[in-house]
Every structure is written in structure tokens, then in C-alpha cells.
Symmetry: D2
Subunit: 375 residues, 4 copies
């Protein structure tokens, strides 16, 4: 693991997600750019001191020297955006599979290079757009794919949060600090941090691609350097239209990612805060409350739930689905076996490239007087 | 009453709304452009035959001849859009107050003329943007006005319906027929029918005015002549931004008007389908479920609820609030008394003019390559 | 109208409910036992002074002298429980149909006498157990009746309110005063006031009758004289079991009547505070959200809704359904015509007698050491 | 681990819950009474073959021989009820701490013996009444404890499930088979399986103890041998009253555990299916939606949540809280350090004894003609 030392947020999430199914074991790490902090963090995690490294470079080089079966099987990168590319590149170049937090990296150039490296090395690369790991998201995707709701006409995806409604980065809050800093986050704030999740979710469920967009990004909090709110009109490759709304100044909102997809025959409605439920709004029939574990669901949904109906699964379980599927694919490759297609399902470097392009385009569109910008 | 004969929808709503409080009595009507139908409808309503007229012109002329105290006090216009201007103008010119269904009329020219007439005659004119009649909408308005949520930053108002997801106008459905017909509805479909409600609600609650917009209107159902869906980016006069989304092809949606207003300190969230609830999402405190009749509400909210907490009030009660307030104002004028300011609150011809301008602007914006259009 | 003068609650509800459909006109009243107050109340209601009476006795006698077609058609009794029997009896004896608020009267003896009088006179008697007037309650009833959910096994009906969580009757609150006073309310408090609604609703929807019960009534607020809370185990005539819970000290609850009915094939779930929704919980399929105006509903449901889907109807509309149906039955009798069976549906004196027996039995059971008491 | 082999349900839950925090490692097991199955299950779990045992007896004896630091630290018992006592007793007698699934065991005699053994050995014993592991359950408990809602008056705890609405045990369904079998489950069905959860939750949150009860247990499905539904009136040691309802024939319900607690000042309302939310219904103020991670919560709540607001946590995380706290206590004992009191919080053998007594009493009460039975 690269990053995720004391005080970090997403590193612990990755560790819990990886541990949940008993398929993956944390064996080494470079948990901080500060070697002391890295050591201390490794101790917290009961790692043998010799496998807690002072830097990701050291880790990759040293682990690569260990015999097969002993060395780490893959690298998980859980650092801020500007420290994705370095370890990802080096891991790939040294033959390690990679799990990388989103967005993929800092800018388009890095993104395209990583894409190329993954292609060249043939290594497995997972990007943790974790919201696609929820079983009812997979159910929604399969319903669209199978025509259950007819052709998609309208997509409304929104991601309001309220935690940056004040200038939190002026306090000691570490998460706020790097996410609002152009040097660490990149050219976008809210749109990069959560807008890309919304974009990825919309494309994942609908199977469509955004072809044009019209963005209006805003900075509402005085002194902030990156967008903390934005609205985007979308057009998809089948002619469907959409709205994407991401905000971190939506006072009182927690992490309220929601997507609605209206097709010719039905609408789908999914909320991340109640993820075990998918509303299916039929055109001329009562709304159905589809729930994990209840009635007939697509195998793709059932394969990503662990416990019976009414036993709520949440964010960590969805995150763990990405790790579990990634582990299945690595293990299959090691064993030379095939993977059930329902598990060959996690966001890839290609999703990462689309996310980086989304960032580039919404920033450009927001600065432009022209209405539509090609994606 | 003009319009609202057998087979109509909104006429019956107006009658129930007017009757609810025992303040208004239906005394005459021209219920249909078809004199036979008008007569039959009047009979259904227990009216004396001599006060059921063959046309609105006859009604206004004949009623004007009756002695004061006997003749009607005002005219309620519940016809399709293209038959608002004629009776409204004639009523005003003959000294009658007017209640008119929304949108105000067929085009801007008519709208401006009606506005001028109302100013000149000093008569009372109510436009039934009935959603502003709900008590919790008034609570929301007062919370914004009093700074409870701080300066408004973002407004998200949406009005999805699904009833026009198919070409319903190709069947005998009378409501679908005129609402999708440019000759009767005007230059907009969904945006005129329900988009104007959303626009009015946003301006009513926030007390702000839209200054610029960027619209994308769509026709999703083959063979339809007017927009059945649209998304609009908004800018308000205090710098706040917004999204307005109205659709009649959102399969499975009933009449799901919802508005969210995010201020510096809190967000407000109101759904028309559960109108007795207003969520107040505080920035750093738990969400409060504000309910009619519970705890301290603003007098403006309390004045528009009739029954105790937990006894749900709905659409007709909100509609009746407009009629009740309108009746209070007429009665006060007749009696030469003052009206409590909490009742001097119903949409006016000015709201109607703004609605017509909204229609004009979203249609123009949608056709333009330019991003923002001044309102 | 008997009762319902200034300061009353339910009188105004009756008036609004009666007015809504334009089928009933308030023509006279004895609005208070205080003649001055009665006069003043009549003025508020725009009644001619000669038809505002000093007492219900005067009203019934004087109205009976008026010629047919001029005199009132029926009497609406909206007084506290101890003043139901007198006017109801006198109205029936003088040939007037009656609408009476619930519970039917003060004790069993009165109840049985009223039942006998209604039978003897053949007059029409409606008891305003208004919750049975909701369209989705009628949908639920028809679903049970038609076997859609299979044989009923378990009924859970609950009616929590919180308004009497303190000794409100020690203040000036008029509603609290009489409802907690054994001299005006009868032998039960919460069980009489709202427990009877729950009992009536359970029997109405299931079509079953309670055969045995086991009650535990409580007084939680010091100084109170009648039960303010109670729980009752139920047995029904088909062997189904149930729980009935009514409380007026359930702090923070508004008027949260809810009923769940579990059959062999499905469960039904209806909340009064969101009355336009009925959840149908299928045994092996997704829960359906049945809504007024959406999809195929039973004619009995559709006949009791006035406006399209998504336009919420509430308490007054449900109440008005009782008045409207009652008016249809009176008009049909006057005209010698038949009434569509879907309208021959409002609570009768027989429901009132069962309610009075329920009160009698839960009070007796609560005082008994024996587990089950026959109903 | 004892039990939890291929085809089991709760064993996998225990393993995921134990793994989540990286504090506990599965080191050995006797996963089935069938030695072959045990071996195969151990392989699935990547255990070394020498630590996969043929029986729990073998496991405990062999592990006890291993040097400290190598041998297992505790035993987790995840077998059907009739196989709790044997391994628990033997583990305690051999000096191992124990985690045991609920209910504690098969009958009162076993329960009392285990209680005695735990006292005598001083070993740590956790019973997985996992619903007490949810952060908002802990928030509720602390709110009661600190008097935030005033003295408790009424408790309504319900646990409807629908999965046994048919004779599922007549099919191959393993879970249904043992849970409805008096030889494996004990004298109660639904009341033992889920009623004890409800009882435990009510006592845990309120800090009160049930003193008397009146039960009505039912078997609704023909051919079933144990209760599949029951309703219980409760009395608590402070005079509060309650209702407990557990059913496995509530068609269409998933795992809908809910508890409401009404105090003098407020009511609390928590649903297991949306566990991150606790409604606080104030007597005279708006309902508050308390959420994990939002605003000020008690340290006891915050200590049991892992991720920020709006990132839903579920059943496994609550379950893991029991394991994590148990692990903290074991580790502290090994290290001779103190445990933060917020972590000294998991159900104990004493909760298990109360649960067994609850089973005994509801079965006796249901068979009795007497209303109240002392607990």
C-alpha cells in the first residue's frame, strides 16, 4: 500500500475493503512520504518492520527482489491525486498489478501514459470508483442493458455534499486541504473529487457515453481556489440528455449521490445513502422497490451481495466488491483459470482516462461562452 | 367561471378550492365554448339555468347588468392557454376581478397587455400558481427571507412527470391534446405547463429573480410538436446558481415537483408529493423534519393550514389558499377594511408576466448556440 | 349542525368536508350550548340569523316545521361524546337523517338505543370514522376481499399521538379538557378517542371481526383521569391475530395511524400521514408502492379520489368522501333512484355500536387478571 | 471457529466481521460435524490443513497443546443452538475466551451453567446480539441514560420477517430446517431466533429490565412445530410498558427490526434496515434525523462508526463492532492494559441468560390463561 498512514481517510477504507472477504492480506506498505510516519503506521497495522518502507520507490524495488509467492501481489495507491502517477507507473513498470484511488491522476498527460502502460504490460489495473460496486447499481446496469426500461432518454445524476460549505481548508482539516489545492488535486475541485464519480456512475449504468456537455462551475466560498459546485448539461451517444450536479457546498448534505435514469418504459432511481434499494418506476404500473436479496435479480447483482435481504450492506461492502473481483482476476491469472464474467467487473484505467477527460472538459466548458463542448 | 365543463380537469379543482372555506359561492358560468355543453355542465352544478351562459362574452355582459350584490364578484378563467386573454381582458374591462389559471396567456404581447390593464383598473388579479399556496412553501419562503439559512447559493428545482412518455395526444386524451398543441398551448409544452410552476416556485421561495439562463429543450416522443422535457441552468440576481428540470416523459413519475435551496447555513428541501413536510438540512446539525402544525412555524405558514399536525393537507387545500386569500382581499375592498398581510399573498399578474418571459427565454435559449441568455 | 362553534375543532372539519363537492350546503345550526356563542358562530358562517338556533332542540323543532325542500335535509352532530345521543335521538325521532361524530355516544345503553332507532325509522345514519374514507384504505379493503393477499394472519394497527404527553387539560386547551374528562368522554380516554378509529379501520379493511381481546390500559400522566395509552392483543373471527396500540403520550408523534395486514401471500401497509400510498409487500416479489391514480386500482378506490396522481389528497378529502357518499344516498332516496354500490360506503350506526363495545371491553379487560376477554 | 462450514450462513458473517478491522485472524476451525466437510471448508478459507479439525473437541484439545502465542486466542461458536453449550463449556474449561452466536444455548439449565463457568473462569464471553453493535443504537442508549428523552414510558419493539410464511422447512432450506426444529432450536421458534434480539435490544437501549409479560404465540403455517409469530405485552422495572412483536410469517418483510422508545420529553425511533438513522421525535419541536457522523453524537456512538457521514455502514460493520470490542478486551488483558470504557461494550453471558429466560417465559405465558407472568 502506498499512502494511508495515520490521519488519512481512504487508506483505511481500502484496507477494510481488502480484508473483508479473506482473499487479500496486507503484506507491506509505504504509508507516508514521511518515513517516521510510515513506520509508525505499519506498526499500527501489525506489519513486520522490514516490510514497512520509507517510500513507495523503496517498496516497489525491494518487493520486486523478493521471491514470487513472498512478494506483494499488487500495489494499492491511496495517496492524493498528484501522487498517483508516480507509484502507478513504477508499479506497472516493475510488473505489479495496481489498485488506484480515483481520479486516476493529476492531468490528461499522465492519464494517457498510464493507459498506454497498462496496455503494454497487460497488467491488471483497478480504479476505485467504488459506487459501481453496489449490487443495486449492477442491477440497474443490467436492467438497462437488457432493455427492461427501453431506450434511455434522460439521466439525472447528482452528488451533493455539504462539508465544504465553509473554508474548511483554512483549518487543519487534512482532507479539505489537499482536495481544494490545485497543486495536489489538479484543475478541478468538486468536479474532480465527486463529479467524476457521478460521470462514471452514469456511464456505467447506462452503458452510454457522454458526447457533449455544457458546464457551469462555481466557487461559492471566498478564498477557495477550485470549484466547489457545478452543474453540467449532458448529451449521450444515443441522443439521451442529462444533468450532472456535484456540489460540496450543499449545506446539510452528507454524501448524497443519486442517479435517475428515465427510459421509454420505466425510470430507475438509486440513492447511495440507501444503497440496498433501487426504485423501478414503471410507466403505467406501480413503482417497485427492488431490494438486495428480494425476488429475482440479475446474477450480476446477486454476485455482489454477501448477506440476506434486510441485512444492510454499505459502502465498505461495495468497495470490497472491487477488491474481491480484482483478487479473483489476479488469482485466475496466477492459476491460469477463467474468471466468471460476473466478477470481471471493476473500473479500469479506461474509466480513469474518461474521468480525467471529463475534468478537462467541464473546466474548459465552464470558461467558454459557447454552449456545447464535445467530449 | 369560464371553462371547466364536463370532461375538464382544472375547472373542478377551482370549484372545490373555491368552495372549501365557505367564503365563495359559484353563481354563474360559461363552462364550454359549446353552448349545449355549457348548459349541461351548469345543471350538473345545481346552477339556475338563467345564469349558465353560452359564452364568456354573454356571461360578462349579462352579469355586468345585474345589480351589485347580485352579480358575480369575480371571474375564474379555467380554459386552455389560448382562451385566457380574451375573457381576462373583457372581465377587467367590465370591472370584474379575475382568477386565472396559469400560464397567464398565450404570448408575451397578451401578457403585457393584461399587466397594463390590471394596473389601470386597479382590479385584483390572482394567477393560480397553486404550489405557492402550501404552508410549508410559505415556511420556506419566510426562512429564506429572515436569513435562517443564510444567503442562497444554489437552487435545484425539478418537476418530473411521466404522463406524456408516449404519444398520448394521438388518443382521445383531452388534456394531452391541448397541452401539446402549439395553437392552444403556445410556444412551449412542458416548459409552459410545468416549467413555469418550477420557475415561479423558485422565485417565490428565494425572493430572488432569475437573471440569466441556459436551456436545453427536447422532444423525445416522435410526432410531438412541443418540448416534452428540458433542463435549464439558472443564475439569480444575488449570484446564486440553479438548475431547473421539467419533464413530462420521466416515466413513472407522477407530479414530482421538488425544490432544494442551499444557503450558507442550511439547505431546504420540499417535495410537492409530501407537502406537509419541509426538510431543513443544517450545515453542522441534524436535519430537522419541519411539519405543518408542529413546533414554531412562521405565522405565514400557520395561516395557510386548516387542521392539526398529522392530518394531511394536500393540493386542494393549497389551491384553496389562493382562493381564500383572494376572497379576503375582495371582501376587504368591498368592506373598506384592511387585510392581514399574511393573507395578501397570492400570485399576481406580475408573476404571470415573468412566467411568460420564462417561456420566451427558454425557447430562445434552447435554439441558441450561445451559453447564457439574459432573462 | 349541532356544535362546532367558535373554538371547536371538528365542526370546521365537518363543514369543509361537506362543502368540498358542492353537494351539501350549510343551512342552519345550533353551534353552541351557549346561545350567544351560537349566534356569533352562525354569523361567522354567513347564515341568516333566523336559522341560527339557541339549542339543538329548538333547531330540530323549528326546522321540522319548515316546508319540505326548505328545511334542512339532515343533522350533523359535532359535539363532545356526551352530547351525541340527545340530538341524534331527537333528529331521528323527527325524521332527519344524521351524521354523527365518533365515538357514537357516551355508553352502550345509548348506543343500542340509537341502533334501534335507526332500524325503526329507516333513516340514514353516518358515523364519521373518516379514516375509512381514504381511497387507499378502500383499495386495501378490496384487495383483502378479493383474496389478493390470501387469508389474513396478522393485523398490526397502531395509533400513536403525542399531544397529551403532558397534563394539557390543566391548561385552557378545550380539546384536551373534554377528551380527558370521564363526564364528557365516557369510560375511556385514548381508547375511546383514537382506539376506536384503529378498531374500526382494522375491521373495515379486513372484513373480519374481533372475537377476543386482551388489553393493558395505562395512565402515564399524573393527575389524568382516563387512559392515555393502551396496548391490546386481538383475535379475529377467522383465527387471525392482532395488536392494537393507541397512545396519546407517544411524545413527538402527530397523528400517526398506521395499519399493517399480513396475509398468506402479501402484507399491506398504510400510514395515515402519507395516505395516498399503500405498500403491498409481496411474499416473494418486490414491494409495490400503490398510489392513488397510478395503474389499475379497484373501482372502490378510484371512486374516492378527485384529482390525478401526484396531487396529494388528505384528511379533508377523506372526510368529504363520507359526506359525499351520504349525500348521494339521501339524494337517491329523495329522487327514488339507485345508488352506485361504490358510494354506499360509509360507517354506520352498527360501526358505532361495535366501537362502543370495544371501549367497554378494553376497559374491562384491562381491569381483569384473565388473559382473554370475549368481544 | 466451530461450525460455519460450506452452506452455513452465520459462520461467514462471523468471519467477515472478525476480519474487517485487521485485529483478528482466523487460525483454525472445526467447521462441520462432518469431518470431510470441515476439511473442505478449511481449504476454502486458505487455512493450513493441520489446523482444520474434525471436531470441536479435537480442536480445543489440540490447540490447547500449542504454545502460547501460537494457539488460538478464542473460540467462535456459530453452530445451531443445540451445539452451543458443548463447545462453549469445553472452551471455557480449557481456558479459551468465547464468542457465541445467539441465543446462548438450548435451555435454561445450560444457560445457568455457562454463566457460572464464565464467572468462575473469569474468561471473556461475547454473545453476538449484533444489533446492539450499531452506532445509532448506542446513541439511543446514551440518550436514554443521560435523560435526554426523560423517563421511559412506552417501548414498542418489533421484528417482522416473512421468510417462513410458507413451510420452507419442507424443502431443502438448511436454515429453515434447524430453526423450526425443536430438537435443534429449543422450545421456541421465532421467539428464540428473533424475539430474543428484540428483547435484548429493548433492554440494552432503555437500560430497563422486563419484569412481567403477557404473550400470545402462534403457529400459522400448517405442519410447523414451533411458533412462527408472537405478540407480547411487557412491563419494565420503572413502570414503563411495552409491546414486543416478532414474526417470521409477516409476508413481504425482510429483516425489519424496529424499536421505538417514548419518554416524557421525546421519542426515539430506529429501524435496522436503515441503521445509520435515528429519529428523535421531540415533544414540542421538529423531529430530528440523527445520522452517523453528523453533528454531536455521544462518544459511544462515534466509537462504533468507521467512515464519514453519508457512507452507509451496515450489518457487517455492526457485527464487527462486537468482534473489535471483544478483541480490544482480550488484547488489553494480554497486555495488562486498560480498555477505554466505550469499547467495553458487547453482549455477555448475562444477556444470554436473560434471553433464555425470555424464551422460557413467553412460552409459558402463551400457554397460560393468566394475564401477566413474572419475568
Amino acid at each position: 500500500m502506498v499512502g494511508g498512514g495515520r490521519g488519512a481517510f481512504i487508506g483505511a477504507v481500502h484496507r477494510m475493503a481488502a480484508a473483508l472477504d479473506g482473499e487479500i492480506e496486507l503484506v507491506c506498505g509505504a504509508f507516508s512520504s514521511n518515513p517516521e510516519r510510515s513506520k509508525a503506521s505499519g506498526e499500527d497495522l501489525y506489519l513486520p518492520p522490514e516490510r514497512v518502507y520509507r517510500s513507495y520507490k523503496e517498496m516497489i524495488l525491494e518487493e520486486a527482489k523478493l521471491p514470487e509467492g513472498e512478494r506483494m501481489d499488487f500495489v494499492a495507491i491511496v495517496t492524493p491525486n498528484h501522487v498517483h502517477y508516480g507509484p502507478a507507473r513504477m508499479a506497472l513498470e516493475n510488473g505489479f498489478h495496481v489498485v488506484c484511488d480515483k481520479p486516476l491522476c493529476f492531468d490528461m498527460e499522465e492519464a494517457l501514459h498510464l493507459e498506454k502502460l497498462v496496455e503494454e504490460t497487460g497488467l491488471i489495473f483497478a480504479l476505485t470508483h467504488n459506487y459501481t460496486g453496489y449490487p443495486m447499481v449492477k442491477q440497474a446496469r443490467m436492467m438497462v442493458k437488457n432493455g427492461d426500461i427501453g431506450a434511455v432518454r434522460k439521466v439525472v445524476v447528482e452528488y451533493p455534499q455539504g462539508w465544504l460549505a465553509t473554508l474548511l481548508e483554512a483549518t487543519d482539516q487534512k482532507q479539505a486541504a489537499w482536495r481544494t489545492d490545485p497543486k495536489r488535486s489538479g484543475i478541478a475541485g468538486a468536479m474532480g473529487d465527486i463529479g467524476t464519480h457521478a460521470e462514471n456512475l452514469a456511464e456505467y449504468i447506462t452503458g452510454l457515453q457522454i458526447t457533449r456537455l455544457c458546464a457551469d462551475l462555481n466557487i461559492f466560498v471566498d478564498g477557495r481556489l477550485l470549484d466547489d459546485d457545478g452543474s453540467v448539461l449532458l448529451e449521450f451517444d444515443n441522443g439521451a440528455k442529462g444533468i450532472l450536479f456535484a456540489s460540496q457546498i450543499a449545506a446539510g448534505e452528507e454524501n448524497n449521490l443519486r442517479i435517475r435514469i428515465y427510459g421509454e418504459k420505466a425510470g430507475l432511481d438509486w440513492h447511495q445513502q440507501e444503497p440496498n434499494t433501487l426504485l423501478v418506476k414503471w410507466r403505467d404500473n406501480p413503482v417497485e422497490i427492488r431490494r438486495t436479496g428480494v425476488g429475482e435479480l440479475y446474477p450480476e447483482a446477486n454476485a455482489h451481495t454477501r448477506i440476506p435481504a434486510g441485512h444492510p450492506e454499505g459502502y465498505l461492502e461495495a468497495f470490497a466488491n472491487i477488491y474481491r473481483n480484482f483478487a479473483h482476476c489476479i488469482r485466475a491469472r496466477l492459476n491460469g483459470t477463467a474468471v466468471d464474467p460476473v466478477y470481471q467487473d471493476f473500473p479500469s484505467v479506461k474509466d480513469g482516462v474518461r474521468g480525467m477527460r471529463f475534468i478537462e472538459k467541464v473546466v474548459a466548458s465552464s470558461a467558454s461562452e459557447q454552449k456545447w463542448m464535445d467530449f
